[in-house]
Symmetry: C2
Subunit: 121 residues, 2 copies
DNA sequence: GTCATTACTTACAAATTTGTTTGTACCATA
DNA sequence: TATGGTACAAACAAATTTGTAAGTAATGAC
């Protein structure tokens, strides 16, 4: 996400991992914010400031970085309206939409297993 | 995974994020290695050294750390056999098994979208 | 007694990710 | 003319993740 790397074990491992379809996909939604951003954007367009409001403590920098990365990966589409106060809207691309059912299942898993843990404590 | 944190924005964000079922689940399989380890373990028990062989450049330290974390989260079960050269086997727990169909879908997404990208370049 | 094997652990270092702060460009309105 | 809102960018700093190198314990083979 930042930029320069080399030919270290770190990079070799990264290559190995993104060769695999499973981890290739996992990497697209990895990191702290991407998956929640995609989820929020699930059914509607949102402006930068609207997205920011969804996450109380996210820094603008983080939000920008994540959105840029998602745009790069063609998971979100960014539309700029040349309006008086700037207005930018973000929405999911078709390939990102295909993630939504997977998110549902993940979410269901999370719900179920969080409940399990709580019942034991 | 290391240990000490505080009450920083970093931590607040983390709490916010693990409150959500979706990201709670995502965090269980986050990081570079967890998802591949779970996938490898999908249908069979594997010893430490067998797992290591699956990932050419993983360090023993990383493998241990990931396995410990997965054990902590009750996604893998660790069995030690008191044998002459130590023998330890890892296998998925029932709740981890429920991840496997999700992995399939992620993998399918990855395959499809990797192909899409390649056809354009 | 020395070596090899397995599954680690420890101390250390490098790389990456995440967050903080400050600042910018653009008009419109008071 | 000063101020305010939006969507960022840049420089810097903190936190976490990942990797390197070396060592440990038990035991049987040589």
């Amino acid at each position: 996400m930042t930029a320069r790397k080399e030919n270290s074990t770190y990079t070799l491992n990264e290559k190995f991992i993104t060769d695999c379809d499973l981890t290739y996909a996992a990497n697209k939604i990895g990191g702290r914010w991407k998956i929640v951003i995609l989820d929020k954007l699930g059914n509607r367009k949102l402006r930068f400031s609207e997205l920011k409001k969804e996450f109380p403590y996210i820094s603008e920098r983080m939000l920008t970085l994540q959105l840029r990365a998602l745009e790069q990966d063609e998971l979100v589409k960014r539309t700029v309206y040349a309006a008086v106060p700037p207005r930018v809207e973000y929405e999911l691309t078709p390939i990102a939409l295909e993630f939504l059912p997977i998110f549902c299942q993940l979410s269901a898993w999370g719900k179920k297993n969080k409940a399990l843990k709580e019942n034991r404590s």
